[in-house]
Amino acid sequence: MGQKEKSAHVVTSAKKEHDKHESEHHELGFVRKYIFSQDHKVIGIQYGITSLLFLLFGFSLMMIMRWQLAYPGQEFPWKWLADFMGQANMPGGIMLPEFYNQLGAMHGTIMVFLGVVPLAVGAFGNYVVPLQIGTIDMAFPKLNMTSYWVYFLGGVTMLVSFAMPGGAANSGWTSYAPLSVIATTGQTVWLIGMVFLITSSLLGSINFIVTIIQLRVKGLTFMRLPFFVWAQFVTSFLLLLAFPPLEAAGVLQLMDRLAGTSFFLPSGLVVSGQPLAVSGGGSPLLWQHLFWFLAHPEVYVLILPAMGIVAEIIANNTRKPLWGYKSLVYSAIFLGFMSFIVWAHHMFLTGMGTTISTFFQTTTMIISIPSVIILTALLLSLWGGSIRFTTPMLFALAFLPMFAIGGLTGLPLGLAPPDIHLHDTYYVIGHFHYVVAPGTIFALFAGIYFWYPKVTGRKMNELLGKIHFWTSLVFINGVFMPMFIQGLAGVSRRLYDGGAQYAHAQGVLQWNEFMSTSAWLLGLAQIPFVINFFWSIRKGKKVEANHWDATTLDWACTTSPPLAHGNFKVVPEVHRGPYDYSHQGAQSDFLPQNQPGEA
């Protein structure tokens, strides 16, 4: 798209109908306004609340698992909770291995598909993107509503699966066949839930791409888009093109489970001493290829919006433009592109010859370069700034070294020989939690503190925010740092007793208690956040519309902009790049994008 874009006028024919529609808007009932709303802001908030609850739920599952890991086979201390989970799962308060596996699989699934992605894309994307590109809503509001409710349905399906005979899915979030094909009914429900979630993501991503391409206001060229919008744009393409193969795989697995086909079952299987009565001829690796074809791009879906949020907050709180905006954008695009051709680095040990492993090792090393460039650009953006340590900024800053640890530990995994030792050990768990938990989750916290005033007109309490930050930072490292130690010692992941059986694990077992305690303390550390979050809705300090003195268009409209296409009273026009802070000779230290003139 050229720099000089032709003018993008609001269509005149729309004006004629304007009045008619205006009257309609005032008559929306409560249900149409807040439940089946078609307004991107309400939908964004719906996504936000739902996904935060799922995050909390996914975390709770993990806090329960961590009890078993710290004190294998010991009775659960809270009898009511053990009873709540049922005699079939925790007889006498002692967790069964079957149940541990359910919790693990559901923790992974919920965190990724029901927690982080809906929060990062559904909530932040929905609320902020239309505002940042100066438009009144998403391109397809009905579709937007549908994608939220399909997501909701997917979430309910996943929750219901716990009530199935044999409980929820228990074959890991990766659902490797044949294990998942011979698993209990929960797996079928998991697959159906996934089909809902995939559908929701597909609808959402189409909406985002069309919105960003078509609805940018006049003057907002691609190279003037805030980096956050770019991140969402690339993310949407990943969702659009990577999810369908998983959908196909899900259909195939459903067929295997329900119609007796053997897409993923080779001939000659013997399960529990009995030859399995299927036709055979399938391939277990086919599932892995289709799964990782999605799941690798998916991890960049987790990180790109996070990087976008961090970039916005850093520019705002250093009071200077981002360093190397263009290289950030090109890196994000390149990252998105490459993420489609690295997936088999999760499969190095499935029996790869030299040629194919060379291909995937090479692409994996190549994909680390754009991440390095993005991180470097963000780090260099700090130089020369006038840094304000607000709560959102603290979380955004912490993201940098935390993501660095996660990213750097991806390097040994990306080369096949070290992966022999590290594959499927706690090292991998440590690697990806550093990128998703203190990485992405911190960025999401940053985003919540940052955009909260836009949504509610009030600010979250800074003191509680800082308590939340520092305690979380300490404890989250307490959870995940020892994982590298255990992993290097060779302790496998997904072990019900945390490795207590193994001689080679004895030297690092004592960390389990430490990690679990840290996880529970991390849970406590969220209390100030939850209190702050709800208390501030009514009691927080009132602030003006552009509280952070920010430049992008989301701050140019009023606080909690009116619903029903009412974001902007006048359609704004953009005259400059996204981060015109501390402009030489300007009176204030920031120039909003819609401010005309040179300075």
Binding site: S171, G268, Y502, A503
Partner: protein, 315 residues
């Protein structure tokens, strides 16, 4: 660095190369992290609002960061071309053959490792899934002449040191992963596939056991040791000089109780079976206990063991 990383003892010939790579990459990671970390902390201090109330929109002008990025890329290129690709190619090609090779077949199942030696004739006997029973988990057809002398075990893998080993790995039901951390071996066992693995072990289990021991804290109601084959590495006596645990003696619950009542809270012990097969791929509810014991021994000991096992076969 190797010690800091806490990599387990390495008892195979190809292991040191892998460890080296791990060490080199961690050096790279450390340099990058510490380098940028210092810059990061300094910047936060130097450009905080109090000290620098007005930002300078120009920012960094020099190309230092570009050189760092190029440096990282070049180093990764070196790791890839210089180490990863040749090492991997070495691992997955040139499988040994001939009389000198120890051939073993390993068939994983929920939740055990079935070990199959070809016996004196060096030929694996026929297997048939319809013959699978709990006594014959491999479905070995003992009427096949080649199968008559075949030796099978469950979760017990004996191997000689200093001899090339060739394992044929497969699975009966779901995907497992055949991991032996101390040998730096790991390979997914995939049903329908048959994957070869090769390695040469360098140290006997007995020697490893001598070198590997650690102190276990013991406390009432909290016995850290789930291992049955953990034995004391020092002499423990009570006040009266009666022995609670002698060197090499297996630690039992009773022994722990006795030690505790004698005021002993720490015991130095080591595993008799320090080399283990650890299933690394989620394979069901018993995944966590899908553990096999590897006994590395001298060739003479190995042959003696084979002979003993063969003597149990009635053919």
């Amino acid at each position: 660095m190797r010690e800091i990383l806490g990599l387990p003892m390495d008892v195979s010939t190809h292991g040191p190369v892998i460890d080296n790579m791990i060490v080199i990459i961690h050096w790279l990671m450390l340099v990058l992290f510490v380098g940028w970390g210092i810059y990061f902390l300094y910047t936060l201090f130097r450009f905080r609002k109090k000290r620098n109330p007005k930002a300078n929109p120009e920012g960094v002008k020099n190309h230092f960061s570009t050189y760092v990025e190029i440096g990282v890329a070049v180093f990764e290129g070196f790791l890839l071309v210089g180490l990863a690709i040749p090492v991997w190619s070495n691992v997955v090609t040139d499988f040994p053959s001939g009389k000198d090779v120890v051939n073993v077949r390993v068939v994983a199942e929920q939740f055990a490792w079935n070990i199959h030696y070809p016996g004196a004739d060096g030929v694996f006997g026929r297997r048939d899934i319809h013959l699978v029973t709990s006594e014959n988990p491999l479905g070995l057809d003992r009427t096949d002449p080649a199968a008559k002398d075949d030796i099978t075990t469950i979760n017990v893998l004996h191997l000689p040191i200093n001899k090339p080993v060739l394992i044929q790995l497969s699975s009966k039901d779901v995907i497992h992963s055949f991991g032996i951390p101390l040998l730096r071996v790991k390979q997914d066992a995939i049903p329908g596939h048959n994957v070869p693995i090769k390695f040469i072990a360098t140290t006997t289990s007995a020697d490893i056991s001598k070198q590997l021991d650690r102190v276990y804290r013991i406390a009432p109601g909290h016995i850290p040791v789930q291992l049955t084959n953990l034995s004391a590495k020092a002499e423990y006596v009570d006040k009266d000089g009666n022995s609670i645990l002698a060197v090499g003696e297996t630690i039992t619950r009773d022994a722990i109780d006795a030690a505790l009542s004698a005021g002993i809270t720490e015991i130095r012990a080591g595993s008799d079976n320090p080399v283990e097969i650890a299933c690394a791929q989620l394979c069901g509810l018993g995944h966590y206990r899908m553990r096999g014991a590897v006994t590395l021994e001298t060739e003479a000991e190995f042959n003696a063991w084979l002979a003993e096992e063969a003597s149990y076969l009635d053919y």
